[in-house]
Symmetry: D2
Subunit: 343 residues, 4 copies
């Protein structure tokens, strides 16, 4: 019988993996975390590879393989690995009896063809896709509690779904009009790959749109808001800062509302969900409020006519958008307090 | 008879005024520019007040008043002054026989009540509002050529109008759907006022929306695109960089189009307008491409269905969004080549 | 008998005060922290004033006065107040029986004239100056343990003293040559005062020196390294980033050394001091390694001749340079583990 | 007979090459500039490769080779190529009769062994090294005027030499003390190579020292200030901004001086050198003052004792530190006004 408090982290070299390490090393319910990389460069512990971890204890580093993790005695694995790697690791680790939180896109969709058409690569077998729970705890925490496999959502998707779901669930979104999701992310969201367009001089004092009509988080947004594809336009932009996603969403309501009604809708929907913070009407969240946290902050502005609504959603793409949410899911899976190690 | 090549610049202490100084000091058709400020702090020339101008000649600095400018012999005045100040200066200088390019909002609207309702202050007399030409040369250059008074457009408004006008003029925008203008600006656009929320630590690594449903550039956008108020949502955001506006616009077309048709529409509309650069389908402009220039760059992405269109517009808020465009207007007023001193 | 675990924080509105709040709200040995400001603007709790604290509990906010704190039952006070305010608060609170950690400069010097000549304002009474312990725990922790009043060091001073003290104590610094301390700080170190030269547009993409031969941290450096004033040149610069101080120090050694000897000197000196991390010869610390931590990282490069040494010191000016070090002092005063709440 | 106004630019793809293009396309004495790259990717003109140049005319782009340039009819070549490439191109182009401004390090030293020992690669033949003039026009303009081959100085070296040379030439630097050059550069100075440590997330909100005791600009500094190696410590740091070098230099004077004497020394030394701007005692230059210019700004602070001096030097590493200075050299070689195209 594996101990779920004993944790393996695969793919620690990216920004998400490092953030996971930062959180898990402080987590009171995590015992002996071990970190796995494709290439350990001869290092034995985390601090040798990443100087910022020196003096934080000596969490071991090992060469990544499904066998190594399975044999380690770990009861839970976090996978901050590429989609292709997760597709192989998840079944192997699950069959070996580990609980898995996968941060890639490989297990986010029930239908393999959704994955294939957006990610342009083979999907995982249907049997495994069906076992995966979409790890947005504010919506699906009861499913997550008993899950053996959780697919951690995309960062943009988390930001948009949390903002639109209450309106969609209430049936307040006008059908004939569009819903626009204009999203802006810091550069850590693009990952650690060496790319010319991510060099400092190319991002500093710059701002640009990318991935229009082609971003892979689109199908997550459609599936978990229930909105129809032609109604939604979703765009992504690169901000000259390291951490954070701010999404601005534009909605026509089906009937005029008061600002107080909007605020009440959100407050009720997220009652008992402390990681989503609702802003009073007339105030808007900012990226600095959520940097280095697991909060998703939601604010809005309503036109005087009561039908045109702008919702602003802020989160840290490495926190609530990735590593923080992964730990939040882990906390639910283990039945411990949701915010443990996340404040 | 005043010489229009002799130039007075009022309000040189803000970022727009300094950018005007930078351009006009290099302008081959400008003779003896004189700079006027409320408070010269005893300085006699520009370099004493603003060290970056040392070694650039010794353009004189004087205390700002309508009388001082009128008596100076200048034939053209640029006003980079607050709305209230421009409202007083424009009639006085115009009556004294100067041509005026006013960079404030005070003369941008035919109807005084439009100004009053958005700017919450008294409008200029109707007779003066009627004389002013809206200084967007790509749309109104023949009017500008003969004008005595040009109202330089708002920075956001320039960015949005240049992007939407070709579509609106062609009647390609679907009537029942919305048009969204999600705009992001660098911090120099907020001016030089001392504000807590513009301190470095508050803007750095931060991003936020502001002025939702209340931004003063809204009526300019409506008037010069011809779109109806309820159809448009316009938002503004503060980027952690100094210069540049990127606007992302979302449009549903009234009928499916090919990307080549969109590109052709824009190319035809802006033929002979070298300061608007059209990007080929599939490529998008970025803020770095337009920083320190007078260009407005336009690019777009069309959904595979051909009905959902995203247009991206980039300009430098101090260049094409303010000082550069003011000089472009000046060049038209004097009948000299439009790009003089702007490349 | 006051309970030292019950904590009052005065001056919470600056960047240091907010960082103190962030640390103390997570501190397991702190009970019921109360935050005091000159102007609470009618707010009852921290989250009302500073939105980033929403959802973190409801720490109360009260109007600042010595009486209010003394009557509150608090046993320890942190003062993140201006020098003038601390000069009044410290005696009042100490006489009321509170332990005090003062983050201003008012109690950092034994000699009142040192304070007066560098700060250009009256010093606190000599009796109080004598009671204060200089709060650099790596050097003076036994004094701090029993102290009723700790003067928290300046941010630049901490950075420089920790780097030079081992060399000075060993007598390795050549007498006839200079010692140069070239220091660079992020903008949060300049505080929250509204100043033109701290506006985003003035700091972004800029870098400048300031305070040459006049910086107030100079006497702390001289006193705690034991170096003579004419030997030392100390400069400060403003970096376009929010948090962090990197100091580059240049020393001629009195006799040639090997790199291994330098490294050993530092390792021995800071043995058992986990908040100072020594870098292996050939590697240098960076600001990102210490941001949001209480570490001071030290690295060095030795010329091939073995006599010219460059030492690089990095810390977070709000962490080890201010609030973090204040809590480290508090931990020593209470006899609890030094790193509590600081990892 | 080749026309020196007809210009070839080799290596246009780096930041220095692009800045050269920007300046030369506006240069009134340059005819038909042609740009050469190793790989043109099928492009025919500059705007196809670098979108920021669209609408600026259609300067042709060709595949780089000595033959192609020699056959082109160009009379002057700018080489913004790596050291190895310049070592081959310079002799070939010079023998073909072109004047050459080389921006690499390959021809900066008379002694081949100096190059070899600092650059770890073979030096150019001695005969060519002897023909090269070191292109610092404020010091050597008469040599540059008649030169066929100019070696453009390093960016850090320009910054330091211009600051120290007046003091060294006057014999005011104390012999027994050190001279410290603490230099900080923006990221464009590191070039366009793809490196992990130059990715946005690694540079943003970060600051670090590098190249201690090993930087290649060291021998230029020693040679052109005349200072002895053991006296000088020179360090380099990476700033989180794109453009600019600020160097802080620390000098002990051989005898006490007044601030006015220091200022006068600099003013006399640089009389008739408009691209070096001297700041009045008590004021210091900043990077923003020189960004996008060809100025080198010098300021200083003198201790009250009159013997300890700090000199601050600012320039744009792509301007006066590279491309701007190359054009300044070109202007001298052609006998045209030094500042042409540089204001």
């Amino acid at each position: 019988m594996r101990d779920p408090h004993q944790v393996a982290v695969a793919g620690v070299s990216g920004y998400t993996g490092l953030e996971l390490a930062r959180i898990l090393l402080r987590h009171p319910a995590v015992r002996q975390p071990v970190f796995y990389l494709r290439d350990t460069a001869g290092a034995k512990c985390l601090g040798e590879l990443f100087p910022q971890f020196r003096g934080w204890g000596n969490a071991p580093v090992r060469t990544l393989s499904a066998e190594a993790i399975a044999e380690s005695g770990a009861g839970t694995a976090f996978l901050a690995t590429p989609h292709e790697a997760s597709r192989e690791l998840v079944p192997a680790l699950s069959e070996a009896g580990l609980r898995v939180v996968d941060l890639s896109g490989a297990f986010r969709f029930r239908a393999g063809e959704t994955f294939t058409s957006w990610y342009k690569q083979p999907a995982a077998p249907a049997a495994w896709l069906e076992r995966a729970v979409y790890g947005l705890p504010e919506l699906y925490r009861s499913d997550i509690s008993g899950a053996q496999l959780v697919a951690n959502p995309g960062c943009y998707a988390t930001s948009v779904i949390l903002a639109l779901r209450p309106l969609a669930a209430a049936g307040w979104i006008a059908a004939g009009r569009g819903v626009i999701c204009d999203c802006k992310s810091g550069a850590s969201g693009a990952g650690k790959e060496l790319r010319r367009d991510l060099q400092f001089v190319e991002v500093d004092e710059n701002f640009r749109a990318y991935g229009l009509f082609a971003h892979r988080h689109t199908p997550e947004i459609l599936e978990h808001t229930g909105l129809a594809a032609p109604q939604v336009m979703f765009s992504t932009h690169l901000l000259p800062l390291a951490r954070g996603i701010l999404s601005t969403m534009y909605v026509w309501l089906d009937a005029p509302k008061q600002a107080a009604q909007i605020e009440e809708l959100y407050r009720k929907f997220y009652a008992g969900r402390p990681m989503v913070r609702i802003w009073p009407a007339g105030q808007l969240p900012e990226l600095q409020h959520v940097a280095h946290t697991n909060f998703c902050d939601l604010g809005f502005a309503l036109d005087s006519g009561g039908e045109r609504l702008i919702v602003v959603s802020c989160l840290d793409n490495l926190g609530k958008g990735a590593a923080g949410q992964a730990v939040q899911n882990f906390n639910h899976m283990l039945g411990i307090e949701e915010q443990t190690a996340l404040q």
